[in-house]
Amino acid sequence: MKSTQAMAMPRSESRTRPRTNRFLRRIPLHAIIVFLVLVWSVPTIGLLVSSFRPANLVTTTGWWTAFVPPWNFSLDLYREALTARGMGQSFVNSLFISIPATVIPIMIAAFAAYAFSWMRFPGRNILFVSVVGLLVVPLQTTLIPVLRLYNELGLTGTFTGIWLAHAAYGLPFAVYLLRNFFGTLPRDMLESAFLDGASPFTAFFYLALPLSVPAIASLAIFQFMWVWNDLLVALIYLGGAPNVAPMTVTIANMTNSLGGGWQVLTAAAFISMMLPLLVFFTLQRYFVRGILAGSVKG
């Protein structure tokens, strides 16, 4: 910004020259980015093309053959996926499971992460790495003991049960990520706040949280997506009855027990991907530079 202003001397050229120069200089950059993103997207493009083909051609010919005559496209797979038994209800169920299961762990993890990074207490480092270490616990080993607890507490088959379960499974990573971001906040900033008489409560809500918005946004993206795509936890704690089953259960049931009819998964994948992508785009606008810089000055 500053440099372009400084260069605004000869009027006639100022508007065009630097911009074209800048653009020309940046052609390789754009080319590299477009190339990398394209390569990355090849598998997805293959899936997307397949999802618009008749099921029998998906198994017998390569997806790229769709681009040579005879063009043979069809919406059958989408029709099949969208009209699958219980699809609408399970979409609502998925939302109903995912939103609280995203909000709960972020809030709880933020408190813990704040305490780990800005409060001194004995054994906190050990306690903290133990929390992070729990990331490695295989989910499958927790299912049976937790299910037994649930039966005693009457949580089996309830939404509360699955919210808490997802919250707990997401916590180690959430605490880890947030503690790291809280930990990079400048000490003098927080200390001056305390000198001004701020309590940890205000420091947390008015400094730490707003300054870590990109981290919280990325955490929200991941947690939402993990819960949205979960199949096993839902089947175990919630069951697959149509009134509670999430979309993953409905989609998994589109193929038969021997794997027949898997072509419909191509269309189903894109349908179930829509919402996580929407969440991703919504939260992208919180990935802005300079939140920290501004508040240091102000």
């Binding site: 099921a55 029998n56 198994t59 017998t60 038994r85 499958q140 299912l143 049976i144 937790v146 299910l147 037994r148 649930y150 039966n151 089996t156 088959g157 096993l232 089947l235 175990i236 069951g239 697959g240 009855a241 149509p242 089953a245 259960v249 998994a252 049931n253 589109m254 193929t255 038969n256 027990s257 021997l258 794997g259 027949g260 009819g261």
Partner: protein
Amino acid sequence: MKRIVLMLVVFTMSLALAQGELRTPQEAALEAAGGEQIGGTVSVLGVWGGSEQESFLEMVAPFEEATGIDVEYTGTRDLNAVLFTRVEGGNPPDLAGLPGPGQMAQFARAGELVDLSSVLDMETFGENYAQTWAELGSVDGTLSGIFIKAAVKGLIWHNVNQWEEQGWEHPETWDEMMQLSQQIAEETGTTPWCVAVESGAASGWPGTDWIEDIVLRQAGPEAYDAWYQGELAWTSDEIRSAWETWGQIVGDQQMVYGGPATVLTTNFGQGGNPLFTDPVGCYMFHQASFITSFFQESFPDLQPVEDYNFFAFPKFSADAPQSVEMAGDLFGMFNDTPQARALINYLVTPEAQAIWVENGGAISPNQAVPLELYPDPISQQTAELLTSAEVVRFDASDLMPEAMNNAFWEAILEFIQNPSGLDGILENLDSVQQDAYAQ
């Protein structure tokens, strides 16, 4: 030690004898519920998805209508993990499909399964189901599981148009089949066989069917029974010979389409596709009765019997008895509720099973289901094959302990990659056998 009751009886399923008119499914359902609208719900867990799920839900629709009971069905292909966790966690479904007789025995011994002889009308059950089905569903003499759907294994599929053009006859014996294979290879320059064993987490099972089909006919039913019960070693002559016999096909580049790499990486469902492509890739494909739905999926225009058909797995000598291998879906009851009782009583009726049979893709183990209800000539023929066979055996790998079954799958893959390593493969299977049956 889990052991399925020996079934030495040579039995015949008298499907063809089925007579008498069926009631409406609603009537059968109401009777199963004790004649009254009891309402409530029953939870069911199974492996079925897609068209199978549709058929099952169609099957229980009249039941829900007549009894007011809500059937809450959950399907998962990960039945092992989900059922096991829910049972161990103390929250089993009321009724569940059981992954196999092995797991059934385990659940039954742990006291998780309800004794069905106290639930079913055993007299009608005995009339409708052949003795073997009851024995397969029993653990230590207690009826713990029932079959509501079956499939015939070891059928050899071919492209009818090609065979008619070439004038080939269905071989009666293994030797004739191998001669024909040689002839095909020489005359057409094309590999006679397609073999495909990829099947996700269960990759290898199509190969186990081959070995079982050979053992059953080459070594005989007694050896077959001793083998799956862990009493006949894998390194024994009988079992080794079966592998070597299969090796004549799968270990020979001239015999099998694409060689080992294709065999190992092709999904069994698409394995038969080269029968119908142009140019033809192979002329014979060994797979169970349910493969027809995969043919139709890849080539919707094909007509059964006109375009594709099967012949039974050949005997090893002309005077040997006609043998058949089958598989089926077992159901067990975990919670003894009036609704669960009603549903299981309904599921064993011919009226209920006829619904799935008419939808295609299933053979009913209930002999009161009339043969003419089968929707196409091929499923009728497979049902008939089961009736006419003198020796019928259940899929051996399904009867083995799960650890043995898994090792068997893996051994199939290793053998295809390296047939000359057979000695080591069999020795390894022997050591698994000692460990797995001891549990």
